[in-house]
């Protein structure tokens, strides 16, 4: 099932990342106008919380794990340009094969509803599954897929 972009808010992401089971990046895309390196650090540090959440769930509930991890860190400030502060929020999602998705959302103007974030992740997961189904893709290699790029672009903040 493929979901189509329907709500106004599903294009608020400033950074979308797919992280392998071993915690190395498979795909990172961020808003081009900003410091890409900072987003890499943002995604990388988010893994601390993701790992913690996965291990905490593993202990208590066994297999009944929800893929969506929710908010990773509380909403934090970040600088768009010097002296202009925005808020951003990081959300996490883990597939059953321990591949992680991290979405950083610019929450300065609108606060996103939880189900909107969920639907973004679901869309991402579906597209990721399509990539994995490609017989020419070797799992564990960086994702190079136009279809996946397209889905990600649809979720990013439109700039320019």
């Amino acid at each position: 099932m493929r979901l189509t972009a329907r709500s106004r808010n599903t294009n608020m992401a400033v950074c979308i990342a797919v992280i392998a089971k071993e915690n190395y990046p498979l795909y990172i895309r961020s808003v081009p106008t900003q410091n890409e390196l900072k987003f890499h650090y943002t995604v990388h540090t988010s893994l601390d919380v993701v790992e913690e959440k996965i291990s905490a769930v593993g202990k208590s509930l066994g297999d009944q794990r929800e893929l969506y991890l929710g908010l990773l860190y509380p909403t934090e400030d970040y600088k768009l340009k010097p002296n202009i502060l925005n808020w951003r929020t990081r959300y996490g999602y883990v597939t059953n094969s321990k591949v992680k998705f991290v979405i950083v959302v610019d929450s300065s103007n609108t606060s996103l509803r939880d189900n909107e974030i969920r639907s973004m992740f679901r869309k991402l997961h579906n597209s990721f599954t399509d990539v994995m189904c490609n017989p020419f893709h070797n799992p564990g290699d960086p994702i190079q897929s136009k279809a996946f790029d397209g889905i990600v672009s649809g979720m990013m903040v439109q700039t320019g």
Partner: protein
Amino acid sequence: MAGSQWELPPELCCRPMAFVALTGLDVVYNAVHRAIWDAFCANRRADRVPISFKVLPGDHEYPKCRTKRTSYEWYIPKGILKTGWMNKHLNLVPALVVLFYELDWDDPQWKEKQSECATKVEIVRTSLQGRNTKVAVVLIQKKTPLPPGEDLVASERAAALCNACDLSGKSLFVLPHTDHLVGYIIRLENAFYEHAQTYYYTEIRRVKSHKEFLNKTTHQLLFVRHQFKIAFFSELKQDTQNALKYYRTAYSLVHELRAHETNMLEIKTMAGFINYKICRLCFQHNTPLDAIAQFRKHIDLCKKKIGSAELAFEHAAWMSKQFQSFGELFDEAIKLGLTAIQTQNPGFYYQQAACYSQDRKQQAQQLCQAGASYPSPEPLETQSGALDFYGQRPWRQGHQSIDPPDAEKEKTGILALQIKERDVPHSELIIALLSNAVAQFKKYKCPRMKSHLMVQMGEEYYHAKDYTKALKLLDYVMCDYRTERWWGLLTAILTTALRCAYLMASVKDYIIYCMELLGRASTLKEDHKSRIEKNLMKVLMNEVPDAEPECDSSSVSAARSLWSDRMALAGSNELTLEVQDYIPFIQCKAKFQSPSFHVDQPIQLQVFLRADCPHPVSFNKLAVSLSNQVTTHFHDAEYNQWCVVEETMSLLPGKTKCYNFSFVAKTEDVGKKIEMAGIEVMLGGDSGRCVFVNWRGAGGDAASTHEALQASRSSRRWGRGMEARQALDWDSLTIQHSTMIISRVPKISVQLSHQPPALNNEMYCISLTVQSQEEGVAKDVKLTAGLKPGQDANLGQTTHVTLDGSKVCDDTAPALLPDVPLGDLKPGEKLEKCVYVKCVSTGPRVFLFHVAYSIDTTVEGRQIVCKCHKDETVTIETVVPFEVSVKFVSTKFEPLDRVALDIPFLLMTDILSSSPWPLLLASSSLQLLTMTSNTPQLQSQLQEVVLQTGESASECFCLRCPPLTNSNSTVATGQYLISWRRQSSSADSPFIQTTVTLPHVILESVPLYIHADLPSFGRVRESLSVRYHIENRTALVQEVEMAVEPSDAFMFSGLKQVRLRILPGSEQQMLYNYYPLMAGYQTLPQLNISLPRCPTTNTHTLRRFLPQRIFVKPQGRQLDDVSIAAA
């Protein structure tokens, strides 16, 4: 410290406590007073009331109270809060002044003392004029007071004293200076505390009462000030709930103030103070979420209130301080028992504080241009040396209108601030904050956040030009990013590290970072890589590299001279780099062609090199160091010499180059492993700098394991189609870092011939034929034969191997004959050897025949002596050759269950062959114990008998048991010895003695032994004389009754019935003449004997000794002379 301008004042951060002044105490010279003072201030634990005490002289001048304003109508406030106000109420204006006075109720000079005390009270009152401060008097008395109401003098004089001092009764206390000082003091201070509470309550009421005079247009500042004061007094009163409420009101009021550029700092400063108080109280009330919410609100409200753009760094500094002090409050609360979590811990606040400090630094760099000279006169100087109000500018204190009063003053003031900012050690501040944050994130399990902050610290050290510390931090975290494979981040860190290494001219670090930045993990663009490679080449040529971009010019010129110094320095031009744990731009993988090599084969080794840099790279030496198993750490120089190339070689970008080495193993290394200990590539050369790049083991680096895994995944998917291409595919090149040296394949045949199964105890012959198929002489042929080691331990004890087949070996022969020399073997020659095996027990055994020899051979033109060996094993079953059964029978061949003493009996033996091969029995004999042979020793009846499978051979021996005293018991009979061998074995082969232990017999003694002498046969109608011997074997006289029953077959003469006595040990003979009437087997007339004195012995038991029948021949034609004579 330069940052102190932003520090929160200590009077804000402390916990406000009621201030009580103590006067009239001489704590220096009066021991009693000293003790009283100590009791007040020492050991103030949490259970004592919160009061801060101070000893002041009796005539101390308290701060003057300004005249009360009657109307606020024309009053325009100059600021929000005076800088001295908090301190004034904490430390200067007491809630209560206590006058200590030594006076007993029965003091003889009561009157004088009373008036002196009243004077002192008056002095205090005067200096407190206009204040609501209470005054109390404590009389220090030497005597213990009587219970209240009993001492009439006391109550009278107390009333008088109160009257004289104008005190209420509640303000007069008595402190007896006796044993229970601390107890009295605690009661006293509780009373003081109540007075102080009342004081602060009135103060709150007083401040509140101003409110009605205020109007919202001109007195906005006062609204904030009054709320703050009420809140502060509430705190002093220890009413924290109300304090929090008033602070909250104050906080919302401060944000209602009209903010403009000139008063922005004042507003923010006050907002910061109030926020601090609110957060602090929230943590104190154990509502940390409220504290966090308040802080977030505070930040959201304030973060955009930048104020003057020219002083933007001030805003960043202020923001940083906000975060820092909140972090400290949070941390303090945790120390007092609050639990923090991974996503909400003080680390985040320290991190944000650091972040704003970085901002501050950036803005300071932009705004504070160097060159401007500090304005004179000093615009930041004030008359008092300090500010009147918090958060105001020194050059326009108390000014509250929108525009600055004097544009010129404003300009110089700002310039002065900017110049001051320039001297702030920003990096130091940032690093301190970051390191606080690192400590927190470490505690709350955020390793990646910690690494990230350490990178920032490293970068900050870089900015602060402390390159050594920068590199230390960056190096530390680099490997985390490398193992997690975040190449983008690794590249960024490496780039900074490279700059540091360049600026401090650290050659080794510089080369390492260059190598990794050129490698495949680097995400740098091609042109950057090209530049770095050129620089690397320069360093290798011992030249000064070009500067890294984004380094500031002054540092670059300093670095240049450092580099030139380095270059000029002679020696130390050799560097060794261990690159195993990095991702260098030259990749290396090596493998032995096979996991094992025969010693007579050359060992083949391949080293693959590949460069990932943009330009071709040349190197001058490639060496593989090898080690064998024994000398793991010692590089075996003998092999190493074969694995070296010393010439100028070059690698093309992206191309794999393969170097083949081959060498011959030493024969003593057979059975050992040869391992690659390391691979070395030498970059540069003698002319410049030599860099030895070292890989441990057989190459590979920090990333290659994962790459190999990915490659294997993809080849699995592609299946066979990929295999053809795999040789070219770098990632799927597998490393083979060790090989086993195994011995040369033997060219001899070893054949065994034997006739299984082996028979128990025999000398089993196994004949071994060794034939050489070698082209040369096989020297030193040695045979190891016997039981294969590693079998059941008992087999070793029961198996004996010998080469000597001429005699039966004994138990000392070993189970395995090692290294039997067989001499040399010419090509084609054949050699035979017999090995004899004696198996004492039955069952299967594995025998090993190991033929070893050495031979000269030539490998790649080298003469080597190879040791070869060939093993043959055979499993041989051992079986029992025959079974021996033995039985005892009477002379009448009747089975015996017991043997009578001194009466002959027969022993029958039976040998049943179970051997599949014919057996030759050589002899047999008895070795008797107890028994004696009843017949003279004859030759064995079995001599030279051949038994086929299943056949049996029997023997019979007549034995007698001599009379024994201990009769009626079981005795051993003896042994039966059989000597035998296989019929097929050669004539000179030895016989095997098999010993069979004969069964035990039960002995019995008979009282009477009766036996008959009679011929072996009779003849019809010829007389047959039979003599019965009756022996008495007892020690008693035996009475015997005998009767002969008539028989149809015989007539007889003799006593038919007789009763006789036999003396002990003597014998009686009875002679009968039988006259047979019928031919054939005839039953003799039955003899009935009974022993009346020995009823246990009946006829039947005695009769078994007598013959029952006799064969009677028919009457012949001629008379036999003998029979006539007998008749």
